[in-house]
Structure formats: C-alpha cells, structure tokens
Symmetry: C2
DNA sequence: TAGAATTTTCAGAAATTTCTGAAGCTTTAG
DNA sequence: CTAAAGCTTCAGAAATTTCTGAAAATTCTA
C-alpha cells in the first residue's frame, strides 16, 4: 500500500478538512482513500497506508458505514472485509449535505419552536421574542430550501446548480405582477 | 445582567452549536446574547452573563469583529466599548454562509486544481485522476452555486428559498423536450 | 467444538482546542 | 504628565477530542 505523491496529498488534505465537514481526521482520510483507490481495501490496508492503529480504522469504518458512505464487500477466498464507497461522488455529497442539515439546523429549530410556543406566558422580553422569531423564520426557510434540494432528482439538481446566477433571471418569470394568493399556508 | 430562562437556554444552545457553525462556544454565546438583547452590551456585561473570563470575552469579540458580525459603539459618558450585531439576522446568515464556503470549499478546490494540472507528468493512476476530476467538478459546481446565492440581492434570495420545491417546476421551462445529447463532458 | 483469523471495544494516553487570569499595553481624564 | 480605567495578550491550565493497543468478542474453518 504505497500511495503516489498526489494521492498522499489528497488523503492528507481530506484528513485536515474532515473536521470542517463533520468528521475526524481518520474518517476523512479513509473516505478519501477508498474514493480514489480503484480497488476495495481492507482494514489492514487502510491502517498501513494511513499510519494509524487498527482500532482507529475500525472505528472510522463503523462511522462511515453509519453515514452510509461506504459499504462492505467480500473478496472470494479472503476472509477479510473489504470496503468501497457506496455510491458516486455526487451521492456522497448529498449524504454529507443532508447529514449536516440535520445536525446544524434541526436542533436549533426544535429549541426555538419550543421557546416560541411557551412564550405567551412570559409577558415582557418583547424584543427578545421578536428576534427569536426572526431567527426561527430564517432557519426554517433555509431548512425548507435544503430539503427541497435534497429531494430533487440529481439531474434537476445539477441543472439548477449549473444555472448559477441564471436562476435569478428565471425567477423573474415566477413573480411577474400576479402574486399568487396562496401565500403562507 | 440576569437572563430570562428563555434567553439563557438560547444562549447556551448557541454555545453548543457554535462548533458546528464554525466558531467556539464562547463566540457562539456572545453572538446569541448580543443578538437577542435590546441594548448594546460591554465586555463586562458579557463576561458576567456568560460566566467566562474577561480575556475570553475579549478574544471572542475580536473574532466576531473579524467576521464583521458585530460592531463597536460608544455610549455617551461611558468609556467602555459597547457591542451590537452589525446587521440583520439575514445579514448574519449570509456572512456565516460565505465564510464557511471559503473555509470548506476553497482550500480543496485549490489543492485539486493543482493536482490536476500537474497530472500530465504521472502517466499511470488513471482511475485516481478521474476520481479527482469528478470531485473537482462537483465542488466547483457547488462553489459557483454558493457564490451565485451569495451575490443575489436579499429579496430575490428570499424568493428563491421560499419557492422551495417549486423551483423544480420553474426549471422545467429551461429544459423543455430538447434533451442535450452532450451527456458526460 | 477447538482454535485460528479477524473485527470490535474501550480505558487510558496523546493531541488539540478552549479558557483563565495576571501582566502589560492603550486610552483618556484631570 | 500621571494615574486610573479599560482592553489585549499569551503562557499555561482545563476541557475536549482523537487515537492506541491490548483484551474481548465474533466469525469462520476443519
């Protein structure tokens, strides 16, 4: 398990970025290596290539399986477990995106909802209540948007993303003068 | 500086979420408190309300100013520095979003660009090169999309977000029947 | 079923991040 | 200019996260 300079660099980089993307160094490195390696790898390969302990690899693989980012395979005539990414790069991005939405928005939405419901009791603290409502509204909108991206079929999503700033133009069609009376439901 | 139960809960929560949003506990708490408090606060207020040291508050304020999330003010007849959020909740969200795009996408794009350019030298490692290209393409598309969101005027952005899944419908206009035969580029 | 191969677990070690508090710096009033 | 008020810095302490490695558990072969 010797990595090319280029692969080595990518793997190390994914380790560093890991924490920003929601996992730890080893998990980032394992994911990177499995992704760019043509063949499935087993835990010993990974431990050797990444210079980390066997136990650490085991924990990392467990976490990546929990995220559904990788899956187990078996090679005929080998008792060891081998791993590969469970989908395309695109699939991975969706999974990470969704997981992060859950971790970064849901808990706060849930807290704010609670706070705002039980607010009627407190009479004062007007300003604070209003701000909390503002934060809630914003996060809920973000959340809805994130969900709608997540639910889109890949093709449509790709199209939307590649339109980039062009989306802005298309949106003018939707608005025109005629504001649909449906509004807030 | 006594906080209501509700404010207290929100501040603590923002402290916990802080690390997921890109800053540490104290920074999260300071931001939350300044946001929901009707009046500007000074460093002593913050240290007392959050039960953290004066030095920690100073560092937190410095960081929030670097992010341009808060700004200094002076109260007439008081030598202390007071702080308030520097914009609306919406403005804050945009700043945090943009800062995270920079931290989470730019470094990887930059590394991959470099790797892919200097790839001609290495002859082998075909699969790996192809995967790196895939990752690069995806991240660049994400990046472009994020930028176009960031550059949109708030009104248009709000409209886009509130359309949610509806965006999908609007996009059909752009595709019609004419399926471009380009496929994988 | 025995036992060898492989994987998982988890207590404590190592590394990293965050926080404190006192020293020192800057600003302002007098 | 002096001194008090206020702010910042940063070395080391505390807290948190990550990693190791040996023991325990599981799986497979014969």
């Amino acid at each position: 398990m010797k990595l090319s300079d280029s692969s080595q660099a990518l793997v190390l980089h994914f380790g560093e970025m890991g924490s920003r993307w929601g996992f730890n160094r080893t998990v980032g490195q394992i994911l990177a290596l499995l992704t760019i390696h043509p063949e499935p790898l087993n835990a010993d390969h990974l431990a050797e290539a990444l210079h980390v302990s066997r136990g650490n690899v085991s924990m990392g693989l467990k976490e990546l399986q929990a995220w559904r980012l990788i899956e187990r395979q078996h090679q005929p005539g080998d008792r060891k477990e081998y791993f590969t990414p469970s989908g395309s790069i695109w699939d991975m991005a969706r999974i990470v995106f969704e997981e992060r939405r859950k971790r970064e928005l849901d808990p706060t939405l849930s807290l704010l909802r609670q706070q705002l419901l039980s607010a009627s009791e407190d009479s004062g603290a007007d300003y604070t209540q209003a701000k909390m409502q503002e934060i809630y509204d914003l996060l809920e909108q973000l959340n809805t948007f994130a969900n709608s991206l997540h639910d889109m079929e890949p093709e449509r999503l790709k199209k939307l993303m590649s339109m980039g700033a062009g989306v802005s133009k298309v949106l003018n069609f939707g608005s025109k003068k005629k504001s649909s009376p449906s509004s807030a439901s």
